[in-house]
């Protein structure tokens, strides 16, 4: 049981590795951790398009925040 579990974990890791490669190739800007989260979300039925939108929204917001901080720093 433990062996099969281990095999499962291995195969999951391999799959995640593959996905990470693909993500790098596509230059998505996701690191391993966030990719794993995304995969889990997708597995649980989240619509990928919606998820992509959310990620982009979040990125934009953070960028805006950073810019604002930088502005205030300058001043």
């Amino acid at each position: 049981m433990a062996g099969s579990n281990k095999a499962k974990v291995n195969s999951a890791r391999e799959t995640l590795g593959t996905l990470l490669e693909i993500s790098k190739l596509l230059n998505t800007g996701l690191d391993a951790e966030s990719l794993a989260i995304c995969v889990r979300l997708c597995e649980s039925g989240v619509n990928p398009e919606a998820l992509a939108n959310v990620i982009r929204e979040l990125r934009r917001e953070t960028a805006a925040l950073k810019a604002a901080e930088a502005e205030s720093d300058k001043k």
Partner: protein
């Protein structure tokens, strides 16, 4: 967020995801990133095949596709990433780092890493799939460049302080500002393009690795690298890196005539391409070839501009009043011929359009909305370039070839027109495929022809050859006055004939050069034009031009030509306006009068009716709309009318001219000739003069001439002196008094001294050789009855007089004389030794019989002579002179043109001359006849003396000679009649 909240997303579509994967794979391949493509393919395949993912045991589940589609949606310019990820180049870059230090050291901090602002926006957007590029565009370049900065060499940090501020902005890294000023400068500089002309983008090719973010855009670098690798001797040059947008704009400027730019420099009359520039995606050679080709057109434009400027300058300086509305006044004192001016105006029109086109192109390029590449620019320009080519051909062949030698305006003008026409014909010969070129060249040709046609028009309608610049093929010969009998032949002369030999070489090559200087399109009708011109001039002096003419009501020749062109081709105003180059122009221009009308209407509404004001308004409006000094009112109208022509129905040019131009000229010619002939016949009495000449010189008026020559012959008969001019004139006056009283004062007799002539003239028949009848024919009849033809008439007159004299001498002989003479001699001999002699030798019956026989023979001979001479006389007077005269009269009535009249008259003269045996060919017959006439005169002399002056031997000789002559004439004439060569002698 609201978008996210309320939007309903579709479920994952495996097919779409697969397609996207395929697309990305393909994109990697297209970007020459095969490794990444294969990697990507295998990874996705592996992933999709993975079982036990998302709680299922199979591959290819929705969960698989969901994850993949998420990744694809988040994808951010994967191909860009691919370049950096392939890890192919880093080792090379490591190598180049060494050279980099050297370069920066050697270039003494002139080095810059900037690639130009435009390239940044170009690199990505050109061919990226929109599906994969859903990031905001604003983020795009900066993220790219941040990535790039990670690959810049460490030494860049050192250089970045010295580079232009633009590169600071481009690199996306804000340098720590030392002062506020620096920052402001940075901001300002970041918004302007680098000063590439000042060396702002200068760089060494081998150091370009930093900009190589895309394989497609690093062609130059790769090629250069290849060259460096393959040849030890190859030295890379320091070149300014431009963008295609910049180069395109420079090209457009150059085509507009800007002589100094960065890409092109103006050297010794040519645009020379700057070799120190490069594009990142074109090899030097390609770029150079393209630019050099375009530079050639720049030369053409520059040359044409120069020409137009020179013409405009000369026109302005020659007409101080700037009265440019009238073509005729512009060239009044100018050295440039009007044809050149018209051609210049046509060219300037074309150039203006071309510039307008260039400006609109530049606007498009500046807007950077569409992709603009050099090749696209070339294809956009190509129709204009073809036109420029044609203009260049015309200019080179038509103007430059002429300018090389000092040649007259006439030569220049006709040569230019011929060349234009030849080029036009060549275009036309290409058939319907090249209609656009014909429609482009034809208006130019038309405009250029205008002065020429105007000159012709004025000449053939008013008779004044108004050619201030001496450009018409012929000019009025000032030496030949109107009253000259040579007027018709010599009034016009061709401009310096020596000129015409010059263009012969071009004629051969150009096939259509001017034959003897006539513009080739006028060649078929040139004789008519000249005829009509001369006729008009004569008519003007004969007061025949006072009545209004038909042509005046229909406008000038040029206008009529255009009208018939319109009728023939059909014009259209809106449908074709985009395709014909000149059609957009008239639309604007036709608006002017409308605008002026509006103003006038406004004035009238207010109750102001001031024609001066109205005139000023219209001038103001047209003046403000057309600021170009070379544009003229009529030119605009002509252009609008020419632009409206529908070229799709174009027939061959020659045919077009035959239907549209030649008929008008021919009509003009016909009207003029008809009227001239009518005037000559009715007002000047041409036919009466012919009749007088015929009746006097050809002795048709037998009674009057009989009165004239009888006293003369009487004097000759008694061997008295007849050379008394006053006596001869007196008898002529008396003879003419009755029937030709009105002509009597024009006629007088002159006697030429013929004593010094050769032996033949000593013969009795030639006694009257010196007698000539002088007829003072007034102008303009003496154009036809000129001195040459009068001399011929006189020859005939002399010959007829000889026949008459012989006939008269024989007629006057009476039997009484012969017999009285014998009685007289008998009486005289009485009382002398003669009597004794007579007595001693009485008239024996034998002797009596002999004398009777002799008398009889003399009488017989006289009859034979009389028969011959009477027949000859009758034949000459009726068969030849009368019938020929009838033919002549018939032809004269049918003649419709002075040239023809002259030809008919000349032919008639020739015929009469020949038939009166005065021609060289039939001289031997004349000789025989003269012999007979001589014989008759000698015979008559002897007869008058007495019968005793005839000896048997003499009589025998005479008889023999006469019969020989008759025999010869009979056999000869029979032969010729059988041959049919002398039909009039039958």
């Amino acid at each position: 967020m609201s978008n996210f909240k309320y939007h309903r997303f579709l479920d994952v579509n495996s097919h779409k995801t697969k397609r996207d994967i395929e697309g990305v794979h393909m994109k990697f391949l297209i970007h020459s990133n095969e490794a990444a493509a294969n990697n990507f393919q295998s990874l996705t395949d592996t992933f999709l095949a993975t079982a036990d993912f998302g709680g299922s045991d199979d591959g290819h589940t929705d969960a698989h596709y969901a994850v993949l589609s998420l990744l694809l949606l988040l994808a951010n310019s994967p191909t860009r990433e691919g370049v950096t990820d392939t890890q192919v180049e880093p080792p090379q870059e490591e190598e180049e780092e060494d050279t980099f230090d050297w370069a920066s050291y050697l270039l003494d901090s002139d080095y810059t890493t900037h690639r130009g602002v435009f390239t940044n926006s170009l690199d990505w957007s050109a061919d990226e799939d929109s599906d994969l590029n859903e990031d905001e565009d604003g983020e795009q370049p900066s993220s790219d460049l941040t990535m790039k900065t990670t690959f810049t060499t460490p030494s860049l940090a050192m250089v970045s302080m010295e580079t232009t501020p633009v590169s600071d902005r481009d690199s996306g890294v804000v340098n720590t500002p030392e002062s506020l000023l620096d920052e402001k400068m940075t901001e300002v500089s970041s918004r302007i393009a680098p000063l590439y002309w000042a060396g702002g983008t200068r760089r060494r090719l081998t150091d370009m690795s930093v900009s190589g973010c895309d394989d497609a855009s690093s062609l130059t670098r790769l090629w250069e690298k290849h060259l460096v690798d393959s040849s030890v001797m190859y030295v890379t040059r320091d070149k300014a890196q431009l963008t295609e947008y910049q180069i395109q704009r420079e090209v457009l400027w150059m085509l507009m005539g800007v002589s100094q730019s960065f890409v092109y420099s103006w050297q010794t009359g040519h645009f020379v391409v700057n070799r120190d520039i490069q594009l990142c995606h074109l090899t030097d050679k390609t770029l150079f070839n393209v630019l050099e080709d375009l530079g050639r057109y720049g030369n053409v434009v520059w040359k044409l501009n120069q020409f137009v400027d020179a013409i405009a300058m000369e026109t302005n300086s020659s007409s101080p009043a700037h009265s440019l509305n009238d073509n005729n006044t512009t060239g009044e004192a100018g050295g440039t011929c009007q044809t050149y001016q018209a051609f210049g105006i046509a060219i300037s029109h074309v150039l203006r359009q071309f510039k307008r086109e260039l400006v609109s192109m530049e606007k498009e390029i500046c807007a950077q909305v569409e992709t603009a590449t050099l090749s696209r620019l070339l294809s956009k320009l190509s129709p204009h370039l073809v036109r420029l080519d044609f203009l260049d051909i015309v200019f080179r062949n038509g103007i430059e070839a002429c300018c090389q030698a000092t040649s007259s305006n006439a030569h220049k003008a006709s040569f230019l027109l011929s060349q234009l026409y030849t080029t036009l014909q060549r275009c036309d010969a290409l058939g319907s495929t090249d209609n656009t070129q014909v429609s482009f060249l034809f208006p130019i040709w038309m405009v250029s022809c205008k002065p020429y046609l105007d000159i012709i028009d004025q000449w053939v309608t008013t008779g004044q050859l108004n050619d201030p610049c001496q450009e018409f093929i012929v000019r009025r010969n000032a030496d030949v006055k109107l009253g000259d009998e040579n007027f018709w032949e010599a009034a016009l002369e061709v401009h310096d004939k020596s000129d015409w030999t010059l263009p012969s070489s071009h004629d051969q090559e150009g096939d259509g050069g001017s034959v003897a200087g006539v513009p080739s399109f006028l060649l078929p009708i040139m004789s008519q034009v000249v005829g009509a011109g001369k006729a008009a001039e004569m008519l003007q002096h004969l007061d025949g031009l006072q009545e209004p003419q038909g042509t005046e009501t229909t406008g000038t020749l040029y206008e009529v030509f255009i009208e018939s062109l319109q009728a023939h081709l059909g014009s259209h105003h809106t449908t074709h306006s985009e395709t014909t180059g000149g059609a957009t122009e008239p639309v604007v221009r036709t608006a002017d009068p409308v605008f002026a009308d509006n103003v006038l209407r406004q004035l009238q509404v207010k109750g102001v009716r001031d024609p001066l004001l109205a005139e000023n308004f219209s001038q103001l409006i047209t003046g403000s709309r057309s600021p170009d000094p070379t544009s003229r009112g009529d030119e605009e109208e002509v252009n609008s009318r020419l632009g409206d022509l529908d070229w799709s129905r174009l027939s061959p040019i020659k045919l077009l001219l035959q239907t549209c131009l030649y008929p008008h000229v021919l009509h003009c010619y016909k009207t003029m000739s008809d009227r001239l002939l009518q005037t000559l016949k009715e007002k000047c009495g041409l036919m009466e003069y012919f009749a007088t000449v015929r009746s006097l010189y050809l002795m048709e008026a037998g009674d009057a001439m009989y009165d004239f020559y009888t006293p003369l012959f009487e004097k000759l008969r008694f061997h008295e002196s007849w050379q008394d001019v006053s006596f001869l004139n007196m008898s002529l006056r008396e003879a003419l008094q009755e029937h030709f009283s009105c002509q009597a004062h024009r006629l007088f007799v002159a006697v030429r001294d013929t004593s010094g002539c050769d032996r033949r003239h000593k013969e009795p028949i030639t006694a009257l050789q010196g007698l000539t009848l002088q007829y003072e024919v007034p102008w303009p009849i003496n154009i036809i009855l000129d001195s040459g033809s009068m001399a011929l008439y006189n020859e005939v007159f002399t010959f007829l007089l000889q026949i008459k004299r012989a006939k008269y001498s024989l007629d006057r002989l009476s039997f009484v004389d012969l017999e009285r003479d014998s009685v007289l001699s008998l009486k005289q001999s009485k009382g002398s030794d003669a009597l004794s002699a007579l007595m001693s030798s009485p008239l024996t019956p034998r002797e009596d019989e002999t004398e009777f026989c002799l008398t009889h023979r003399v009488q017989l001979l006289r009859m034979r002579l009389m028969h011959f001479i009477n027949n000859l006389h009758n034949y000459m007077m009726t068969r030849i002179l009368h019938s020929t005269g009838l033919e002549f009269q018939q032809e004269m009535e049918d003649a419709h043109d002075l040239d023809l009249v002259m030809a008919i008259h000349a032919r008639y003269m020739c015929r009469v001359h020949e038939r009166c045996l005065l021609h060289e060919k039939v001289k031997f017959i004349k000789g025989i006849i003269s012999q007979v006439l001589n014989m008759a005169l000698t015979f008559a002399d002897h007869w008058n003396d007495s019968i005793h002056s005839f000896s048997v031997k003499f009589l025998l000789e005479m008889e023999l000679m006469l019969s020989r002559c008759i025999q010869f004439l009979a056999s000869f004439l029979n032969n010729t009649i059988k041959r049919g060569s002398l039909p009039h002698r039958e």
